[in-house]
């Protein structure tokens, strides 16, 4: 079946099987590699993308479900000032160890900073609960996101 959606601002049409996940379509057909294959069961957050601006697990979404929607990945946010700030704070604070979970964390944090939600360390922790870092570096990740939010306020 044909599915059309907006990927990082550009309209795309892909030919997919009804049981194909958005994760597979992005990685295998559209060369989007910031979206990682992790647990494949909606738990780890490495495959997080934005669908109409909202963080969503692409491993547990049929590509057919994004017909007509806007899908955003980090590839589409390279020049975004919020993502740049987040990236530099992640580096500064040592919030990256192996790096596999990082794109998922950055894009979820990006959505959080864009949302205008209150950003206490408690709330950052709560909203990032759907992203897992198996190097267990949560403290620095939360610090980096909070610091980026502070820096962007100025």
């Amino acid at each position: 079946m044909k599915v059309s959606f907006i990927l990082n601002g550009e309209p795309v049409t892909v030919d997919v099987k009804p049981n194909e996940t958005l994760l597979d379509t992005l990685r295998l057909k559209l060369n989007i590699k910031s979206v990682k294959r992790g647990c494949e069961r909606a738990e780890c957050g490495a495959c997080t993308v934005l669908v109409d601006g909202r963080p969503t697990y692409s491993c547990n979404l049929l590509t057919a479900q994004v017909e007509g929607k806007e899908v955003t990945t980090l590839e589409g946010l390279r020049d975004d000032p919020i993502v740049k700030e987040l990236t530099s704070k992640f580096v500064e604070r040592g919030a990256i160890q192996c790096g596999f979970c990082t794109p998922g964390f950055i894009i979820t944090a990006y959505a959080l900073l864009k949302s205008g939600k209150e950003l206490t360390p408690e709330n950052v922790k709560k909203m990032l609960e759907g992203n897992i870092c198996r190097c267990t570096g949560y403290k620095k990740i939360i610090e980096a996101v909070t610091a980026a939010a502070e820096a962007l306020k100025k």
Binding site: N19, R41, A42, V51, E129
Partner: protein, 291 residues
């Protein structure tokens, strides 16, 4: 690639009418509202499904409306929209409290309240708050509509009163003026977790007497349940710590937990008593009652 979704036929319904026609016509069919549970269930082969009807794009099924004495929630309303709704925050805060602890932001952005109910997991977290709020479910099919109290909706694990060709359309949540309600969930960890046991309670107090008491739990029976023994014991009784402690113990008459990967039956029993008491105390505090 470890998990694969089996081959399915996919149908996208853009109106309620279209969805009803599809689910009544197709055999071996499942409704996909967000897919957060269904797609995993397909991956682990919980169900053998041939046809999937996607209702996520049906606008007329996604809304939260204040209708004075009740709030109406469209079945395909996303969980995160419930968490962020000012209407729910004022008229049914205990529902927002429960939903805020469900899964993760990414899941709440696709999962729906109707999906959580129709999937009928014994651990469904939208169930205890809706049970204590005496919510009513509006079910619709090509033949017409009927309304079922949520207390009669669940039949057992993954089983509801929904008939072939029938769809949950709306959840009607009565506004309980002057009540205090709370929800407490115990999981294996704090973040992104399933319930080991969760309790919702609602109380109304007049002149120091329990005027109304409602208690509901999940994960401690084949379906989410009301703790009627606790309710009967406390109703019309004077509010006191000893009455609450005595009442909370009665929860054991209402539950039949099993041991599973998350906890033992004995632990669930103990925690049901403790959390029932804690939640009753919290509800009283919110109703402005001092012990």
């Amino acid at each position: 690639m470890f998990y694969r979704i089996p081959e399915i036929n996919y149908f996208r319904a853009s109106t309620l009418e279209e969805a009803l026609e599809l689910i009544s016509k197709l055999e071996n069919v499942k409704v996909l509202a967000g897919g957060s549970d269904l797609l995993i269930d397909l991956k682990i082969r919980r169900y053998e499904v041939k046809n999937v009807v996607d209702i996520s794009g049906i606008k007329e099924l996604s809304y939260i409306e204040d209708r004075g004495d009740h709030v109406a929630i469209g079945a395909a309303t996303k969980l995160q929209d419930i968490v962020e709704s000012p209407i729910i925050a004022t008229k049914a805060p205990v529902l927002a409290e429960a939903v805020n602890e469900m899964a993760s932001w990414q899941v709440r952005n696709v999962a729906t309240i109707g999906g959580n109910l129709c999937n009928a997991s014994p651990a469904a977290d939208t169930a205890p708050p809706l049970l204590v709020l005496n919510a009513r479910l509006r079910l619709v099919s090509l033949e017409g509509e009927r309304e079922v109290p949520i207390t009669e909706f669940f039949l057992g694990p993954r089983k509801t009163v929904l008939r072939k060709g029938e769809l949950l359309k709306e959840i009607v949540v009565p506004y309980e003026r002057g009540a205090g309600a709370s929800f407490i969930k115990l999981g294996r960890r704090n973040a992104f977790t399933l319930s080991v046991v969760a309790v919702a309670t609602l109380v109304k107090v007049r002149n120091g007497i329990f005027d109304d008491v409602r208690v509901a739990l999940n994960s401690v029976a084949p379906k989410p349940v009301r703790a009627v023994s606790v309710e009967k014991f406390l109703k019309s009784r004077e509010v006191s710590m000893s009455a609450i402690e005595e009442g909370a113990k009665r929860v054991l008459q209402d539950i039949s937990p099993i041991s599973d990967v998350r906890a033992s039956a004995d632990y669930r029993k103990e925690m049901s008593v403790i959390l029932t008491k804690e939640s009753l105390l919290r509800s009283l505090e919110r109703a402005g009652v001092k012990l």
